[in-house]
């Protein structure tokens, strides 16, 4: 049984908390921080005894084995360093940090501390994506030549969130960058990005965009086209297609339900599942189960700090490409 502490009780923190207590029989959350009065009822329902005011305090809880870091991105770095120092294993939400050097420090620190570190690129653990990965691994489509990822959010987050998020590439596309690395199993050598602001939010003020098209090139030649938008009126649009030497494989959007209606205007099916909480519900469970499993079997986590670093490098190159309007090489 692995004893967890969790930092951050916002939307995604609550998802992890609920999953750990309900779906992970070999783990238990025993501590949380920072606990405010409004969290008390929830934590009691989940049987969490240690309510800590600070992360430091949580590090002192006896028998704590690991932490889930779901605090705002700005705090990740400090929390990781403290946890590593305290010898706790770490599951950290993406992105690790917006600063490349800090993420490098993270990779070195956790390695030196001998603690396990996993970054929460949960989509790798979506059952549909795992099946797609299997199709590729089994050689059913041959070597990947073109990868296409469509990732469009139903609505932008509040401007208050956006301005500290690092922008579209670091907040949103970073999932797609990791997905590309995961599926193609190679390293990106070149990034070209184009984007603009189409919606109502004044993102220009924050040097940000709401719509982008991105081209990645992998070392072994596979080409990637990613398109992102913050304004998909028809729900969360999440599709991946891999075109290879011998065929093509793709995931389709997961709909709210499979009911079809035919009437005088045609045939109709439901919207796509609303957003990441609904669409990737299973992946959030699976990624934690996998982390716990690797801890129990004393194996390295499936997604390392280096993976976080690699995705960040692509996102930063995309940001630079958007600015200088030319492809950027990654060494």
């Amino acid at each position: 049984m692995i004893n967890f502490g969790i930092v951050g009780l916002g939307r995604i923190g609550k998802v992890h908390l609920s999953n750990l207590q309900s779906y992970c029989p070999q783990a238990k959350v025993i501590a949380a921080s920072p606990v405010k009065p409004k969290h008390k009822v929830l934590l009691e329902e989940y049987g969490i005894v240690h309510h800590c005011e600070t992360f430091e305090e949580m590090m002192e809880v006896p028998n704590l084995d690991a932490v889930v870091i779901a605090s705002p991105t700005a705090y990740h770095y400090d929390h990781i360093l403290q946890a590593a120092k305290a010898g706790k294993h770490i599951f950290c939400e993406k992105p690790i940090d917006l600063n490349y050097e800090k993420v490098q420090t993270v990779t070195q620190t956790v390695a030196a501390a001998g603690v396990q570190f996993m970054v929460g690129f949960n989509r790798r653990f979506d059952p549909h994506i795992q099946q797609l990965k299997s199709v590729i691994e089994e050689g059913k489509i041959g070597k990947p030549r073109i990868l296409k990822i469509t990732s469009r959010d139903p609505a932008p987050p509040p401007i208050a969130f956006i301005k500290d998020s690092g922008g579209l590439f670091l907040d949103m596309s970073i999932h797609d960058f990791d997905m590309a690395r995961y599926l193609v199993n190679d390293e990106v050598v070149q990034v070209y990005a184009h984007g603009s602001v189409f919606g109502d939010l004044p993102l220009q003020q924050y040097d940000d965009i709401d719509t982008a098209v991105i081209t990645l090139v992998f070392k072994k030649g596979c080409m990637v086209q990613i398109d992102n938008s913050r304004y998909s009126t028809y729900g969360y649009d999440q599709r991946v297609e891999v075109f290879g030497e011998n065929g093509m494989t793709a995931t389709q959007n997961v709909l709210d339900n499979s009911v079809q209606i035919a009437n005088a205007t045609g045939h109709h099916t439901a919207r796509s599942k609303h957003f990441f909480i609904e669409r990737y519900a299973e992946s959030y469970r699976n990624v934690l189960l996998d982390f716990i499993d690797t801890l129990i079997h004393k194996q390295p986590p499936s997604i390392s700090a280096e993976d976080g670093l690699a995705a960040l490098a692509i996102a930063m190159a995309a940001k630079k490409s958007l600015k200088v309007k030319t492809p950027i090489s990654i060494s």
Copy 2:
């Protein structure tokens, strides 16, 4: 080159005329009857020189090899007998006649006269149905165990047509009965039908219905479920599914176009093709090409008068079953 005469220049007659002149390089319509003033322009456009007032007159046209009978059902019998007597090959629209004995006479007469006779169960020549048939013939689903046919019209014909049509089973379901025989390749031994009037037309007056569910049982055991309606608000619904020992195969509705729209209310595709003229356009061409081909190669036509007789027997049994509310055996 086969020289054709055509009788009947209504909706379906025009389809056959156009197909013969535009798509059948080895055939030519040289005569038509009964020709009224309003037909003159059309016939001239198609280069038809012999405009006959009567079928008798058309039988005298020199070098006439074959006839397409697209007259109202009530005239089929006379036209067939005259054509057979004159030694012309015959392509006849379904149903051959509403009277079982008359159709028996037809089968004997054409056989005695040594002319080729084909009944226009065009759906057998729909490319999708032909593919379905191939799947079965190639053994891909094993022996058929359950056959399901959905056949729903977008709107009923005028009451004036309906009252002389023989009713839903003889006018509409007869296509499905032939389809069942074609796909299962066996003979029906039992028929059970239930139906009623749901729509606005006072079909009860004519001992007719607008909605039916029918169960057929074949000699070798295959079971068939057919459902029919005259009121499909979402367009012509034509689906066939065959469930067998090793799998299932099915056709899907053919839509007006393949454009998909996603918006705040979901995902949407087009209506099914409107009605039989649009949905089965290719089958009408193919069935004539096949008839012409068998004439040229002096082979028996693919769909015989006996096939017409067998479908009629099922339709009549369905009619009786509806009346006596019990399954009817066919010997």
Copy 3:
């Protein structure tokens, strides 16, 4: 908090147990019977303290509010009567019993005892079916005219199970009969069934079949076509289609995953989910949540003993129809 006892720890009993402990925050299983040595570990994992040898013994457990009856069908009747006598609310797996008079006694007994009784027609609580029901209730397709249900199992149960199951109609089709009543919201007045044995199991010996087509007629006229098979090589096939005055609505099969593969032989998607445990996983949770909710709010359960009785009457009529080869009326 509702305290449950559970009888029967076979396949479906374990599903209910797991759902109650993991997904029903307002309920808790505190007792189980009959407990054999092999069940101990499981029950301890779930924190169940009262391990009873018999149902009688379980009725004595203090503070027990309700029971889940997942014992073999032959025991349902006794367990229900004992539970009613002890004043416990009852959730009972389908079918209640194979004998019509006994089920009548059940309806009277639970009413007299003032306990709540719900029969586990779980499919009503499948999210897709609930959406279908909403579509109908909202009038989107108008009055239902034709209902079609395809329900085909991937493989038959062992012959040992089948011979005590009451046969295909009582064991398998009974779900479809309940579904028809639920969706059409009316009572069946006539049943016609045809079936036979296609597979290897010698079901004839037990007066049973493996394939059937069934026609139901409802009082207000809606017609139903059901087809069942025990041998669907392509997985569990569960489809429902409702054709109404103004349109059509249907559920589609739920696939194992949404990955598509295109290669030289065409486009391919996954199998349907394997069987009821996988396909209807959510419905098993939802039906218990609903039962618990009605207990808490002191409302009558959503599916009554009378619903069980009505489905049984249809199944028995189907059995009789198969035997006498004619439609059977239900009064």
Copy 4:
């Protein structure tokens, strides 16, 4: 009645010839060039009397109104100039020419000669694309923000053809560039292309590629992602998706048939239609019908020489971008 002469009787020339004679009642091919002995039978079947050895000779045929230019690209320029001089209207296959200045000359020459000129971007007249265009024009998805085009050939043409074709961008992607301009209804201002050779043909020798990803940016901001391959093992892959302010619309691949098979390995449908002759059969008819219609009504053709010039400019920019590895602006 418009009298046509046709130059070039290769694959695409024969398609145009057959369409003109069989599907265009207001047009007639009366002359062909260059006629070789092997063409005689075909031309006689189509009732073409003037068999010309050269294009010059064909220009002398009396009553000739228009020409279809389906000769190899290298001859287009000369044929266009001669036809313009002779006062004949011109339907010319794409690309007009590989040289930008020559195409400019064409635009000026036909304008000065007062003859109508249409370039054969047939895909605009595909029924699915026309429906997609209508969806956009009717404002159903709002202003386009992202356009995605997938265009993958089932197999590369022979190397002998490729080396004179101008390469992937001028031969293949040029259709996609025109499609983008047609659907977005705006002008491209920037082009970025990346590509490489994955297949067996030694295209590097000819400075060509077999796989490409292309990014276009339109003046009003719409972004385009195109992906091309010469090696689609699963058939001709032709998909277009337009993502806009209020929704998304897309075409799907047209399959060989709509038959579905379900078996132990999953659900299967047919391959996509094999290649452009099959997939775009209707568009080849429609584009000619449209050209004839504009001639009859003395209106300018729907696709002008300027459209050909604009697509060529994009193709040349793509070629340059591939070489210099940076986005290229188009003024």
